[in-house]
Amino acid sequence: MLGYYLTLALRSFRRNRVLTALMVLTLALGIGACMTTLTVFHVLSGDPIPGKSDRLFHVQLDPEPLATYVPGAEPDSQLTRFDAEALLRDRHATRQVMMTGGGGIIEAEDGAVRPFLESMRYTSADFFAMFDVPFLHGQGWTAQDDAGRGRVAVIGRTLNDKLFGGADSVGRQVRVDGTALRIVGVIDDWLPRPKFYDLNTGRFDGQEHLFLPFSTAIDLKMGTSGSSNCFGGAPTNDSRALNAPCTWIQYWVELEDPAQADAFKAYLANYSAQQKAAGRFERPANVRLRSVMDWLDHRKVVPGDVRLQLWLALGFLLVCLVNTVGLLLAKFLRRGGEIGVRRALGAARRDVFVQAIVESGTVGIAGGLLGLGLAQAGLWAVRQRPTDYAALAHLDGAMLLLTFVLALVTSIAAGLLPAWRSMQIAPALQLKSQ
């Protein structure tokens, strides 16, 4: 029966070419716009470290003065160096890392390449194991390097290609801001998107090519980048000093299960209370421990423009849907006579209904196909745009499937009312008026 209905649907398309084309075009426009924005949204709101995102947690304390305290308000998103180093010493989590972004001038060992600026990350040793960083050669440095301010570095694949022509450079040297660092590892292409561990230095395109121990970077007085917030009435000459009242360090921990997470949170509250007793903290304990996805959600990582576009596209799809309902209604009711004859010849109301739905669904599939083309064009346009996430806008398998599901659901939803109306057409009345 379905095959017969499909034939009927195609025949009816041929008869009402303009009306059908209008419907297909309308649906295609709506679906194309919707899929373009949905894809961008999907890519940007994805899990940057699947499989581990529920075990990595971002840590916040509240070291600011009581004078500006608002109960319940969010504590600063970063830690002071004093607190970060204290937590790192305590080692209460399975793994823990303190870090900040930075940058400096890189020179090749042999001076073959002109000196250039590069973005870097100053971090502690657990970074690589914690974030599942893939190594091409060698490995990360050790906690001993952290403690001993080791002159070591891990470089990215691109930098390795640039400096060493892609050879295994472990054991060789690179000069950073005039100091020679020994390369202990080369990492493969690795760029979690968004760069969840530090949202201050390029969320979608801020690739770092060189990693070195935090203690080494401090020792060498290397420049940091990212956000820094100093508070209290005593400005220091060095906001990076151990006791400076400034927050500028990202702190992450790896915890095995919710029980350990609860215990860690209690430990943070306890640490805050101790600091308060010691006179360093003034506010009541105000700590946060957020998993990766909670953290991304909290920081509203999907750009406002993208969310706005998604809303607009959904609104547009709704307009297209209402429009298609109207056009389908016009089409079915115009065939009132034909339906009346079919009913008089014995077709049940159900048959008329199913036939109408099949016809709507066919329009939907055609609209979906065209919409897919429009979505690809839309994504191409997004990729031409000057945003940091532009390069990410590609349709994947899941979104491809969703396109057709959306097209079918939309067109069948649009067909419900017209199908129900055409089912109501009485056989006798139509025959009489013929």
Partner: protein, 405 residues
């Protein structure tokens, strides 16, 4: 023309009527909000940065190891000023549309109880102020003694200029010259007001568009900082001079690395800064166009169906003496009524949609002036879309009334 028969006829086609009304209402809601969003972007892109961008360029140095500021400045400025065509040059910490140097929260009292807002602090030498062409509209210029060395971030106690926008935010309706504000231990006194001077990231800071011009100009000594240089030249010479200055500084200070990304004419930096907004405005325009097209097509489709369905009725009316004009006007008036209903509903939807957008995207309230604009546009669109089917209806001959179907 009597509208009662039209209303009665519409009453018999409730579903088709409600569909058209709903479609126009949705279109109206999206249209008003999208137009408003475009206007917001355009307003941001038109911001008066307070400086004459076409005649200014920047050279930025990064990462100079073990340099002495005064020495670097002397060499860099000498190299820039030595280029024929350069009218002025100076060292500064930041420019509008460039890298931010320092946002900081200020308070209206020394104890830090009354929070004032987060302006951007510009630290300028006398040469830099002259190069940018900043002049106070109220109050006074800086004395030679006002240019001080920097203590970490800024001088501890300074005479400053602030923008009129920031003054109006700190002391609404009150004279600002001579007032004081604080940032921790740092103390500032307002010596003058500049009409406009945008922060490096206008519209994208904590306070959005409202805080786009919250800038503080702090006079500092030339040797207090190094790294960013502004130069002024004839706009015709500037593109060439911007590159020449970059190369000259690179040669004069070989131990530093030039930040190529930031070393450009200011109009380039400005254009790049607003690229995203321009793209968004075009996208919104695209959405509006597609939606109007779809709405128009819907009206054409339904109206054609309607005309076909009523062919016999129209024939009878024509036979009874209705002119072609009467039939045409009937469909036009009918569409006008439908659009009116849709617009009325759409305005409520537009307003509700705006409230939602306000909650999620920190947008201001939709100005009421957008509603009649959207209404007029949709009425016009409806009339244009219905014209074709209505003309076809008017062309139906009275003889059709005598036929059986």
């Amino acid at each position: 023309m009597d509208i009662r028969p039209i209303v009665a006829a519409l009453g018999r086609h409730r579903i088709a009527t409600s569909l058209i009304v709903l479609e126009i209402a949705l279109a109206c809601a999206v249209l008003c909000n999208a137009c408003f969003l475009i206007a917001e972007r355009l307003a941001l892109m038109r911001i008066d940065s307070g400086i004459d961008a076409p005649s200014l360029a920047v050279v930025a140095l990064r990462g100079c190891d073990g340099c002495v500021d005064a020495d670097v400045n002397a060499r860099a400025l000498a190299a820039i000023r030595g280029l024929p065509g350069v009218q002025a040059a100076g060292v500064l910490n930041a420019t509008p549309f460039g890298i931010r140097a320092g946002d900081a929260g200020v308070t209206l009292d020394a104890e830090g109880r009354h929070f004032g807002g987060v302006p951007h602090f510009y630290a300028f030498s006398r040469d830099a102020i002259e190069t940018l062409g900043l002049q106070p509209s109220q109050g006074q210029g800086f004395e030679a003694a006002d240019f001080q060395p920097i203590d970490n971030f800024l001088p501890l106690d300074a005479q400053v200029w602030i923008t009129e926008a920031f003054a109006a935010h700190l002391w609404p309706g009150e004279p600002a010259v001579g007032r004081e504000f604080w940032m921790g231990e740092y103390h500032f006194r307002v010596a003058g007001l500049v009409p406009h001077f945008a922060r490096p990231n206008p519209g994208r800071s904590e306070n959005g568009v409202a805080g786009a011009q919250w800038s503080v100009v702090v006079p500092v000594r030339d040797e207090a900082q190094s790294g960013v240089y502004a130069l002024r030249a004839d706009p015709l010479d500037l593109p060439r001079l911007a590159i020449a200055a970059r190369d000259a500084v690179a040669a004069a200070v070989p131990e530093a690395v030039i930040d190529m990304d930031q070393s450009r004419p200011l109009s380039d930096l400005r254009a790049r800064y607003f690229e995203r907004d321009r793209a968004m405005a075009w996208l919104l325009l695209g959405v509006i166009a597609a939606m109007l097209l779809v709405t128009a097509l819907g009206i054409v489709g339904l109206a054609s169906f309607w005309v076909q369905q009523r062919t016999r009725q129209i024939g009878i009316r024509r036979a009874l003496g209705a002119t072609r004009g009467d039939i045409l006007r009937y469909f036009q008036l009918e569409n006008f009524l439908l659009a009116g209903l849709g617009i009325a509903l759409g305005m409520a939807l537009a307003y509700g949609g705006n409230l939602l957008l306000m909650r999620h995207f920190e947008l201001p309230r939709l100005p009421l002036s957008y509603l009649p604009l959207g209404a007029a546009l949709l009425w016009l669109l409806g009339q244009a879309a219905v014209l074709g089917p209505a003309l076809r209806a008017a062309a139906i001959s009275p003889a059709i009334a005598t036929r059986s179907a």
